[in-house]
Amino acid sequence: MKTMHGFALVAVAVVLLALAPLFVSEYWTGVLLGMTGYVTLATAWALFSGPTRYVSLATVAFFGVGAYTVAVLNEVLPYPLVLLSAGGIGMVMALVVGLSTLRLAGVYFVIFTFGLAELVRQTVSWWEVNVTYTMGRYVFLPFEGRHIYWQLLALAVVTFLISWAIGRSRIGLALKAVGDDESVAAHAGVDVTRIKLLLFVISSTIITLVGAIQAPRWTYIEPSIVFNPTVSFMTLIMALLGGAMRLWGPMVGAVPLFLLFEWLSVSFPDHFSIILGLLFILIVFVMPNGVLAKIDDLRKGGRA
């Protein structure tokens, strides 16, 4: 019964959000679009990294691949096929990365993902310069902000549903066991590698799609634009602030931080990264498990 109420509430919220561009200005549609993008990124990131506690710094590698696929294919294929191809490429890439790294212990994984974006960026640049002789591509798709926003909103809803379903399933339970103690989980009969791989692929495919859907916003795309490491950083900090272990956590973190970053990047464009860094350090210090856990703690503390 409670779940049904929850679903109804979420459905109303989604409908309201979907109608919003018809009433608000173009600027605010843009803000909503960016926000939905980051909510999806943070939720997808937490899908894998939250329960397993494998910190992935590779978000922008997949995001950039999605955007770049659209830039390469947008004039040769119809749009739905372009999106499908982007998702497919992201999935294959996640499989390759996953198969070669997920067997490795935590810190190796962090380091590999840390450099993955740089590696992909260099490889794409090299390919464009030496094989296709183009540097930078144009994306001409007849989309306005609200069209992109609706697609992102749909993806966000799907991501939430996946996250919700996994949290309730046996896989979710197995994942929590992996996060608590990987060797214990393995001994208890959990196929650790396979579950990690599955989650990594789902999470990365969604991230690739976010990049692909947002690509038309740039019109001009270049490796240094779409592989900007700040994207990985912001996604991570948002999920952490809200709490990566909870369904609503990434969203609770993403919305205020996105608005804050939007304001900061307009008001202090030159000092943006300094403020971002300090904010990050502060969040790790004050709320290691996220806002939602902090609120829970405070509540329990109040009662005890």
């Binding site: 506690r53 910190v55 710094l57 070669s100 790294t101 490795l104 212990a105 935590g106 810190v107 190796y108 962090v110 380091i111 590999f112 840390f114 450099g115 740089e118 590696l119 260099q122 490889t123 640049s125 090299w126 310069v129 030496n130 490491p229 950083f233 991570l236 952490l240 030159d270 000092h271 943006f272 990264s273 300094i274 403020i275 971002l276 860094g277 300090l278 904010l279 990050f280 350090i281 790790v284 210090f285 290691p288």
Partner: protein, 287 residues
């Protein structure tokens, strides 16, 4: 051919030097420092400023910047790292926390450098005279950088393996839980190790700036290469860092010379992954 070997060893020498710093920070202080490369770049810019405004010779700059690197890292440890160490329930938690906090640190240092110096490529001309080494021509600044890396790295190895001070540090690296039973102040040892790492990063920065151009945003690549060297060599192993550093320098130089300069990073990654799949604990790592 010989020319590439010499150049590869010169480059590898600096990689080994900075990786030694990182491996000491990670092996003894248990802090995975993602801001390490940005510390190197900060030292590059500091050398640049000292050289161009006060015309201080980079070798003399070492005498200023290496102690500065030590002191600043000591303060960073006291202010940022120690609370994390105190709060972490186990090693894994500290590892994750330190990664996250130093990721923030990376952006702060990079942001400061960008505000001060902008995003362009920077370099200065120092000792750019050709020298003949075994029949191939090398720039004198590269040769000096190599010699400095060897001497400083060598001194560090001697200190670590031949002095009581070094023994204390190694004891903490080997058995952090039992070291206090022998009257070792592990907190102080960790702080010292972190500070030595910072001093080595500063050394690396001064040395690299002698023969390479640098930008405010190049720190990430340095951190990655240093991390790869650390892992290839085996976490916490100083001899491993030296061997892996030289190997990486050679691989990079050869790929740049014979295949394509744009693919060095891809090559480095391939070596990294291939070795990890064969020897998951690195060349000198313990199982």
């Amino acid at each position: 051919m010989l020319e590439h070997v010499v150049n590869g060893l010169v480059l590898g020498g600096t990689y080994a030097l900075v990786a030694m710093g990182l491996t000491i920070q990670y092996g003894i202080a248990r802090i995975m420092n993602l801001g390490f490369g940005d510390t190197i770049i900060a030292a590059c810019f500091a050398t640049f400023v000292l050289f161009t405004t006060l015309s201080i010779n980079p070798t003399v700059a070492l005498l200023i910047l290496v102690p500065a690197g030590y002191l600043i890292s000591d303060v960073i440890y006291r202010v940022i790292m120690k609370p994390l160490v105190a709060r972490a329930p186990d090693e894994g938690a500290l590892e994750v926390d330190s990664i996250l906090v130093t990721f923030g640190l990376l952006f702060v240092i990079q942001g400061v450098l960008l505000t001060l110096f902008g995003g362009g490529y920077t370099s200065y001309t120092f000792l750019n005279t050709p020298v003949n080494v075994l029949g191939s021509v090398v720039a004198a600044n590269r040769l000096l950088a190599f010699v400095l890396s060897l001497v400083i790295g060598g001194v560090l190895v001697v200190v670590l393996f031949r002095t009581r001070w070094g023994m204390i540090l190694r004891a903490v690296a080997l058995a952090p839980k039992s070291a206090p039973l022998f009257g070792i102040d592990t907190d102080r040892a960790a702080r010292t190790a972190f500070a030595i790492g910072g001093a080595m990063a500063a050394t690396g920065g001064v040395v690299v700036s002698m023969f390479q151009t640098f930008t405010a945003t190049a720190g990430v690549v340095f951190t990655m290469k240093a991390l790869i060297v650390v892992i290839l060599g085996g976490k916490g192993s100083v001899p491993g860092a030296v061997v892996a550093g030289l190997l990486l320098g050679l691989v990079e130089t050869f790929v740049a010379a014979y295949i394509d300069p744009g693919l060095t990073l891809a090559a480095v990654y391939t070596v990294f992954l291939a070795l990890l799949l064969v020897r998951p604990n690195g060349i000198f790592g313990k199982a």
